[in-house]
Subunit: 188 residues, 2 copies
Amino acid sequence: MEELAALPGIGPKSAERIAFHILRLSAEDALKLARAVENVKLRLKQCSACFNLSDTDPCHICSDPRRDHSVICVVEQPRDLLTIERAARYRGDYHVLGGHIAPLDGIEAEHLTIARLAERVKDGGIREVIIATNPTLEGDATALEISNRLRDSGIKVTRIARGIPSGSQIEYASNSILTDALDGRREM
Amino acid sequence: MEELAALPGIGPKSAERIAFHILRLSAEDALKLARAVENVKLRLKQCSACFNLSDTDPCHICSDPRRDHSVICVVEQPRDLLTIERAARYRGDYHVLGGHIAPLDGIEAEHLTIARLAERVKDGGIREVIIATNPTLEGDATALEISNRLRDSGIKVTRIARGIPSGSQIEYASNSILTDALDGRREM
């Protein structure tokens, strides 16, 4: 219970509930869970190309022949990659930065995998880099830095669209969302 | 108190609190409030050009010489107009549709002010119509209908950008927001 309660978002009550749930599991299911926890640390590693987490290197995405390896979508964290994969729209490769530039927290461009991204682009075969860092101050600063680094490469560098979220109401949109939506308007 | 409690969002407790607040007001302030309520019904009317609510006709926006009258931003409701005005970015005119196309609710294009918008465009002097209906099924259908009606006019018809809202995290974005953000990506 102590081990479980140390996990993020799990309080002592939940830990108790989970512990009793594990007691009721079959030996097989309990071992499967134990094995999964073990494997996260033992077998999961970073892909040497895109820095996604995977049990293979290159990862399942980088080595998938059905994907378009001429496009790279740049994200801050592996969980952003998972979210974009869930949307099932994007069929290119990724590049995981490992965070965003935040000078106040001591995180500079050198701490991210930007240099490796520039190498991947230099190696050739890439026609577009889509920057999908978060639409926040730090994410925008990081996007700008990447864009500057890739400027001389001559490839197309794009930023995901910001604007009003699908399904929402204009009436409840913030000033900055409306400003983005107006500035980014597109011909119909 | 009964009259107050009949207003949306005001329960019996709030009505009581407001009633006692009015009792404590000076006669002058209380009359000002009464006059404002009276004026909403007696003096507020629709602008004959843009259908915004105003106590003048044409409304304060249509008659403002500092605004750009060659751009029209089309919104569903007067409250959308207020929200966009609050963002203080847009400096053109408006056109209030009075709702959106919703066949299931019996609202067709003829029930909105689309015909009048087409007339305004036909009258000349307009270079762009920005469609700022909500990013919903009905808002999109309405935008498409307007775009079709204005097709022959030759003027530029744009739609406000949809995408990931400023300040949010990609990790929590829905599939449709991410699809919009990827599809609408722009060169940096």
